[in-house]
Every structure is written in C-alpha cells, then in structure tokens.
Subunit: 398 residues, 3 copies
C-alpha cells in the first residue's frame, strides 16, 4: 500500500468518533459503536500497512503487556505478543501455577500486583459459562480502582482474548479479512454468512466463536444464518443481541437446524464445532462441585450426542451449493480435517486445502486487530499519532 | 511531583556517597551504609516521579535481566520484570527444570553461561536455612571471575530477591512507604514499629521478612519491637545486627513474647506469620537427608505448634491499642485473612480492608526499589545521569 | 579492540561474498561457502568488539525471535535470547505443551501462526535420527510459502540450534574460539584436531557435536582425527562430507578406534561422549512404535556398552602425549567430570579445571555467532550496515 492510501485511511479514521475507547477496555464487540469498530479496523489496516513498509509503529519506549491464558493457545498467544511488541511493550506472562495466586489471593490483589508497569492486560478465560467475562470485568474494575487510588501509575487496558461470551479479537480479525476480501465494509451488506455447527470427534469446544461471529457480523447489514443441530443452542442473550443488530443494520439474523439451508447460496461459510450451551452450563456446575464422575458421564454423553451429527461435515458437495459454488470458507483454526487430523471431522481435506492461504490471511489480521485495540485505548488522538509515525518514518528494521 | 522537586531530589542524591554501590551487588541491607540506603530511596523516588510524568527512564538500549525463582512469586517476579523493563532490559527467566542445571552443572558454570549479555541477575532462594545467601554469593563470585577472565563482557549485578537471611527489596519498599507516609526519613526517629508474629494455618513461611524488617528499620532511629511466641525465634545473628543498629542510630530494639505489648502505642504494626528458625534449620537438614517421613512429622508438629497461638491475630481490639488507635498496618502480602482466605488467620477482615490501599501502595514501591538497586550498580554518576534523563525528557509513552 | 581494528574487520567482510545468506537459513555448515563461514566469523567478531566498546548493535526497533526447544538447554537458550536481544528482537518461546500444537496442527500451520512478526525462528530438535533436520526444513519451507502468499509480512530466518545432523552454532563458536586462540583462520592449516569419543555414565548424548566438528574443522586445512570405540560410528553421510572437505581444503580426515592415537601430538583435543548412530536410529524407531520395553532394554544395553570403554577418559597422562603436552582442550559443556559430576566420566578434574576459563570463552562466542547468522540473513549490505553502526556509535548502556 502506498503512502497516499495510508494517509487516506488515517484521515478517514479521523472522521470517526472513537473518543470513548480512550482509557477503556475491549470486552464485547456489541458494547462498541459502529464508529468504534470501524476505527479498530482502520487502525489495524494502517498499522499493517506501515509495518509492511518498514515504518516503526512503536508508541512505547518501555512498558509491559501482561497475558493470562487459562486455556491453551498458539495463535492468540503469539498474536498478542506480536501486538505488544510492535507497539513497544514487552510481554509478561502470568503463569498462575508459578505465582502465589494459588495461595488464595483475591482477584483485586493479583490484578494490582501485576500491573505496576502494565499498559495492557490480555486474558483468555473461556472454559466456564458465566465465569470468564465476569472475571475480566473484576480485573478491569480492580486496576481502575488501583489507578484511582494512586497505586498504579497508569491504567492498564483490558483486552478480552476470549471469554465465555465473546471472542472479539477473533471475530474482528475475521471481519477485517472479509472487509479486505470483499473490498470494503459496505460490501458486506446483503451478503449471506453461514455460521454453522460442524461435527468434531472432540468435545467441549467453546461457544465464543459462533457467538462472536453472529454478534458482530449482524452489525454490517449481512444476512447471518446460524445453523446447528437441535440441542446445540448458543447463549440466548447473544441470539437476542444478533437479532437487534440485524434489525438496526438492515441485515438479517436467521436460525435453522439445517447445514444445507445455511450453505445454500451463501457468500461466506464458517462451519465449526462447538459444545451446547446448556451442557457447558452443566459442566461449569459439575466443576464447581468437584463432581468428577458427573464430568466423565457428561463428556461421554456429549461425544455420543456429537456422533449423531457426523453428517454435519463441510464436503465438496455442500460447498457446491453455495453462491456460484465459491463461497469464502472460514475457520478460526485449528480445524478438525477429515482424514488429516481425525477420521472424520468438520471439513473435507480438499475443501480445507483449497482455502488454506485465505485462512492463514484471516488469522494474520489478529496481531494488528489486537494492536489496534491497545492503540485506541492508549492514544488520545489516534489519527494524529498515526500521521506523526507515518511522517517520521522511523525504520522498523534498520 | 513537579520538575523542581525532582531536581531537588536528584541534587540531594548527589550529596550522598554511593560510590561503593557501582559495579556491586545487593545482598543484605546491613552491609550498606546509611548513605547507600538513602541513595537507593532517592533513586527509587526519582524514577517513580519521572515515570509518572511520562519521562523515559531507559538507560539501556538492549541487555538482559536474568531471574531465577526457587520459590513461588507474583509481586516480586512482576516487580523485577517491571524494574528491568523500565531501565531497558529484557527479562529472561532461568527455569532450572528446563535447563541442563539438572544435569549436574556447577554453580560457577551455570552462572557464566547465562550471563553473556546479563546486566543483572535477580535470585529468590529463601527456603533453606544457610543455603540461599550462600548460593547468591557463589553466583556473584562466579560472574565476577568470569568478568575478570574476559569471559563476560560486563559484570552482572546480583540483586537478592529474597534469601534465607534478608528480603531487601521488600524491606526497602516497606521503608520507602514509611518515609513517604511520614514525610521523611528523619520522621521515623522515635516511631514505634511492631514487627509481630501472627497466627497462620499454613506452615513454613520464610523468616526473611521479619529479619529484613528488624535489620533495616533499626537503622533510622525507630523503636523496633519484635514480638513472637516462645519458640518462634529468628536468626540470632540478625537479632545481633538489629541491636547494634539500634544503638548506633539512637533507636531501640526490643524483644518480647507479647503481641499486645508490641502493639501498645505503636505507630506502625507489621504482623505476619513465620516459621521458627530452629524448625527451619531442622527441615533443611531433613531435606538434605531426603527424610520424607521426618519432614511430614515436622510439618504436623509445626502446625500443631502454630495452633497453640491462634490468639496472635490482628483484631480491631488490638489495633485500638495502638497510637491513637491509628497505627499504620503493613503486610508484605498475600495475607491470611480471617474469614476471607482462611477460617482464622493473621488479620481480621475489617482491619485488612481498611488498610488495603496503603498496603497496595507499599507494594507498589518494589519495582522502583529494584530499579534503583540496578541503577546504582550500573551507573557511575547516578545523579548526573538522572539529571540528564530529566532534561532530555524523552517520552515513555509517545 | 580499537576502532581501527574494527574498521579493518568490517572492510575484510566487505570483500567476502555473503550475498546468498541474505533472506536465507542456516541449517548445516557444509551447505555454506568458505566465504560465508568467514563472513559469519567476521560479523560475530565485529558485533562482539562493538558491544565491548558499548556501541549499540540494534538493527531492529521491534520484532520477535521465536524459539522452540525440543530438548533441554541452558547455554544455547541463553545464547539465542542474547543474540536476539542485542539485535533488538524480543524472544518468544513456543512451548509446545501450552500451545494447540498438541491438538494436531500441521507443521505448516503452526509455523505460519507463530511467525506474523517473527524475524527469526531458532529450533533445537536433536533427539531423533532423521527427524530434526527434516522438521526444520519443513518449518522453513512453510514460512517461505507464507511469505510468498502474503500471509507473513517478512520471511523469518531459520537458525538450526542443533539438529540430528549438525550443531552449527556450537561448531562455529568452537571454530571462532580456535581462530582467535591461534591468531587467524589460516593458522588452523595443518593443526591436528582430535575429535574423540569419551566415556560417560549417561546415555543417548546427541551425535550432532562430533558430526558438526568433523564437518566444519575439515574446511580449514586441519588434520581432523575422529576416534571412537567400534560401534560408536557417526552418520556415514557426515563422514563423507568430512572426507571431501579435507581433500578440498588440503587437510586430512582420519578415523581410528584409538583415543591415544588421536591425542598423540594433537594441537587441539575435543573429547566427549555420544551415542552410537545405529543405536539412535533404532531408538527413533522404538519411540515411533511407542515400544517402552524396547526403549528400556536399549538404554540398558547402551549403558553396558558404554561401560566397556571406561578407559576412554581424558587423563593427565593422555594430555601429556599431545603437542608439547599443551593441546587446547575443548568441550561444548556441560562435561561429565570424574569425581565432580560423576564417579568416572569424560575428563579428569585437574584437566577440566586447567582449561575452565578457555572453555568458558569458547562458549562465550555462541551469542555472537547466532547474532551473526541472523544479521547476515536480515541485512542486505552487512559491511555497510556495520560501518554505519560503528560511525553512529549509539551507546548500548547510556
């Protein structure tokens, strides 16, 4: 991208109202205005364009980016570390097993103790229904209080790296991929997006991806079709959000129990497995009660339930029914690929292979989306600051 | 703090003799002169004031800060990482389980192998009596030799992040909190400080905090009252140090077996649990012998011994007996809080809650204290260099 | 080293053809031309000289250096972290146990997902014959494709931190130690280097060190003598490489089953233990089959086989037979030292002790060698860039 295009992007950012993001957190996309979402995309695209032109995007000469992963992660972990690094922050991992958190510290105490020089805290806590989001809120409130009380020199921004409700860094990366693929956010209007359940031989995959997708894609006037077998419902609150979003944006939010229906004439398909909300709620309670036998029984039941829906696979036949047989296939990765990573899974190997490069590009937006979330929370005049960096043109690699 | 106050602080630092700290280590506070302690406070305060004014405190464009934690840690770990980061050093953790240290390397060898680009090494090794301090000395001697022999390009400074004898980054942070709370180091003269044992349902807490407190607070002319049940004696060598300190500084060092006596009219109270020195010595030998049965028996005995002193709790009644009922309550955190983190512990919930913010502030000095220790070991003319940073006024966050 | 000497070094680098190293990887020393090896030494020496004069060697204002260690490591791990740091890159460790790699991701996918901001990837994978090198190639091919496809903004360089075939960061550090010890690469011509097996009470030590040494030292016209008991053969492909190298360089590559023969009149001795190639191949297959009983039986056999050769020890008597009784003793560390780290091992304590400082210096080249490998892969005009850094003279420690 040439400098003139970058300047245009920065100027368009300047026309958006993102003031409220300053010194604020990023929990759920539906708490953000459309301007704020657009601003995040604009900053992400600008940071990427600058880095690709070897222009430094550092806005910190020092400072820490804390991360806390309560679940395994590769791409989000490295995306977060990359985002911190490109802004000038050093990542520091809070490993709960090595800290005194296990010794019974309160959330408020830990949150303050790790934040003396933290500009941002990124948390993944997606395993237990009703817990992850609540935990993040408590961390954010704790450091807000710490800042107000003069304990902390700065107020760390909280970035939700996946909770039980939303996975905003994923859905925003997915959306930016779509925006760039279709040549503009306005081109998502009227597009049919199939967010479909797909069969997986594993169990307990978080709901935050499908919830994040229907909660976000309904903002842009698209027709979002959520399909899953009966019993695989997502959180009703998020369905409600999606419905309201669709109404406001002039799009649609449709539900069905048919993968075929969802795929028919779709422009975009996002088939992936997830666990039923009700089962995850049950599991959360079983964990709270320490009921190991109950957990084992539930897992067995859920795998048996999954096995009834092995026909929910993204086959070539199904792909052929999409718009011109050429819908854009998406996945948050890693996928369960039939005959590759398992005997039968979410997607046929030939379909996955054909879309490998676009999917990797989809993933490649995440570091920039996270960096944009941090940038907008830390910089009072984001368009001014970006222009300053562009004009200064300090080299990233000398 | 305005720039004029900062300049004054830097000038007062210039009048102190801290020469001997250059290219030196920080093991025990009582090995340092009063000027050196004051210099550490002055640098810590200055670094904090500069960071709060968004002035960069980086004195390294690259370099490593090695850490080795042989015990769990949250606040010291993050404080150390923060200190390194604000000076421009990247933290590198030596995880003994992942290194070849387990393969029988000598201390001398490991110390050199991790130090090729290390400007500082921070170690926590507080579990075994007679071991931690000795280990740190050996590491420091090893890298000193490595530097002399031309193996290392620079001489890494060793910072004691808690050993079996002292916990200088904690006691110095505590002291700086007191200095700022009471409006100057001279105002600690004559203050009564109760360093008291308190009941905890857990066992084996290190002695380095009470030892560090009585070894340091007696330097400033305070009346330090050490109270604990019979059998909970600290190291006799440290008691001796405290006695000599008190005599020289015009303060007092008093011992008793009464929490009530210690608290009466105290200006400052620091009640926390610790294990008896004699028991810790015994445990060290049992570990050395690999006597698991002996260790289990000792733990049982010690918990039973603790349980005889459940009345050593920091209650509201006890707090009411302090100077005007308003002594400053301190704790190194995390605390065992009655009805919060345990059924009965070191402190009543209402007392803890009332002092939560001051305690967090107390903790918040640690990154700056550690940074000051590193700064004074690495910079030949600390006041000159600080003035240079202040005048240059490079931004920390652009 | 004074600035004039550094300038001379940089100018001599300018006369070497290292073009092909740009945007390339470092797998095996024998894939590199002599100019490329000499260029690596020159950059390493220059970077060291500059750092010793407190001149910044940063060529990145941000960026990541990814590391993946599939075997324990201390010195290579810290050397890699140091190399990244001195160039301005932040290390990010890929811990396979904490990532979703375990969830069945392909190498191609993982390689791309961790590389969005990676300038370099360092991998140690030395345990299984026929695996490590192949794995690294696949990672390099994957990120090459990712770069070509526009997924990655830059092409990360792969640095082999030890594979099943070669250990180039070790052998190159060893070589640079020899070059500086003997006053120039030309002085290695005709020197007798004994790469000898030595007894160790442990089992399964990788072959990549002896293979790396005979594969590299034969490039410089030296007489390389490889000695081991029968049954401890190294990979035949590497022996072939060593033979061809020796012929071309005017040196010699001699094999024997006699430690005494290898040591006689040697200028340099490098005695260390390794596992037989055939046994390691067998073990790799047993691991692949999950044959635990077979692995245990093999280990027992190998230890018994080792025990037949306890006389392969580097004694004072043996050292006395070397050139003037003063051969330079080398080791990659850690060594099995008789009566120190084991009852009987690779080397007598008095021999080891006498060469301790030279061995530490030998190790101290590794961070600079790794930094040089990265530098040459990342900088289009290395001599120009070094001169620029030298002239600019930005301070490393302010």
């Amino acid at each position: 991208m040439d400098k003139i295009r970058i300047e245009e992007m920065i100027r368009s950012l300047g026309r958006l109202n993102t003031k409220n993001m300053y010194n604020n957190d990023f929990f759920l996309t539906w708490e953000k205005t459309l301007d704020e979402l657009k601003g995040t995309f604009a900053v992400a695209d600008t940071l990427r364009a600058m880095r690709e032109r070897n222009i430094s995007t550092r806005i910190f000469d020092s400072g820490l980016g804390i991360s806390l992963f309560r679940d395994q992660s590769t791409r989000t972990r490295f995306s977060y570390a990359s985002a911190c690094n490109m802004l000038g922050l050093e990542e520091q991992v809070l490993d709960e097993s090595k800290s005194q958190v296990a010794h019974g510290e309160t959330i408020r105490e830990t949150a303050n103790m790790i934040s003396f020089m933290a500009d941002v805290i990124g948390i993944r806590d997606d395993m237990y229904i009703g817990k992850g989001h609540t935990y993040m809120k408590e961390v954010a409130d704790s450091v807000e209080a710490g800042y107000r009380d003069g304990v902390l020199e700065q107020r760390p921004t909280l970035v939700n790296l996946q909770c039980d409700i939303d996975h905003p860094t994923q859905s925003m990366s997915d959306a930016l991929h779509l925006i760039n693929h279709f040549g503009g956010i306005e081109n998502l209007k009227g597009k049919k997006i199939a967010m479909s359940w797909a069969y997986s031989p594993s169990y307990g995959k978080p709901l935050s991806v499908p919830q994040g997708i229907v909660g976000l894609m309904t903002r842009f006037g698209a027709e979002v079709h959520l399909a899953h077998p009966k019993g695989y419902e997502i959180m009703p609150e998020v369905e409600e959000v999606a419905g309201i979003n669709a109404e406001r944006s002039g799009g649609k939010f449709v539900k069905s129990n048919s993968m075929a229906e969802a795929f028919r004439d779709a422009d975009i398909v996002y088939p992936k497995s997830w666990a039923p909300f009700a089962a995850m709620e049950k599991r959360t309670n079983l964990y709270a009660d320490g009921d190991d036998a109950g957990i084992a029984a539930l897992e067995k039941d859920l795998l048996a339930q999954n096995a009834k829906h092995m026909d929910w696979e993204t086959t070539e036949e199904l792909m052929a029914t999409t718009k011109n047989g050429k819908a854009l296939y998406m996945h948050c990765l890693p996928a369960d690929i039939t005959d590759v990573s398992c005997k039968q899974g979410e997607v046929a190997a030939s379909v996955f292979e054909r879309y490998r490069v676009p999917m990797y590009k989809e993933a490649s937006y995440k570091p920039y989306i996270i960096a944009a979330m941090i940038f907008l929370a830390k910089v009072r005049n984001p368009s001014e600051k970006l222009m300053e960096l562009l004009v200064k043109e300090a080299k990233r690699a000398l």
